[in-house]
Symmetry: C2
Subunit: 122 residues, 2 copies
Amino acid sequence: MTERISDAEHEVMEVLWAESPLDAQAVANRLADRQPWTLATVKTLLSRLLAKGAVAHEEAGRKFLYRPAFAREAYVAGEGRRLVDRLFGGKLSPLVAHLAEREALTAEDIAEIEALLREIRS
Amino acid sequence: MTERISDAEHEVMEVLWAESPLDAQAVANRLADRQPWTLATVKTLLSRLLAKGAVAHEEAGRKFLYRPAFAREAYVAGEGRRLVDRLFGGKLSPLVAHLAEREALTAEDIAEIEALLREIRS
DNA sequence: CGTGTTCGACTACATCTGTAATCGGAAGCG
DNA sequence: CGCTTCCGATTACAGATGTAGTCGAACACG
């Protein structure tokens, strides 16, 4: 939403986008192989996300089930826009140019993007 | 460099990338129409950037002249990569797809990117 | 030479972030 | 009905960040 999501919080969001609703314990479990956080840490992050309105919780007995408050698509689009605005004056082509120049897009990547553009143009 | 640059610090970097070397006062002046920061704030940001190794200073009499320690190109490429990694599993095409879908690229934008890709492919 | 000006350096302080421990109440076990 | 356990809520605390004031030294002006 309007509130910015930090890196650590983002990790939690990814888990919930992959599967939800989940309780705190479950979220911590899915995070286990990516991050060395304790359950307490995950709980804190969930609370903060809740306060920021990035996740919603639903009471299930004595515990909460958390789910994202918006789709990953929306988040990703927002972050992408933010970056493109900050670094490329809002224009997409320079981003493509930069990454392309430095990262050597595979032929497949190029084909994919070209197909995309063709579709948009029509 | 390895050190992350914050949003406020980034604003300062932009000024220096546009023109350098500049002393603190000059940087504050160029920032004036973008940010309501006082000279003191700008000085703090410059010190932090110095500590992070993002700018270098050269003594000129009793004052310092600051200049970026690396090209904007490098910074931009790094940030772009960071975002693409975090949000798109390192693949560029989904980013293009998302932005394209939501932002309605102009015909010109599309042509530009296509030209770019054609060039890369060859 | 004295005094106001100008710098950078240092200090300040609230908020956000990363990371976690503790506390009080509810639930379950015996 | 007690004791253990599990949960969310509260508290903790260091480092980063946004934003800025103060201090001591060097200069410039008169």
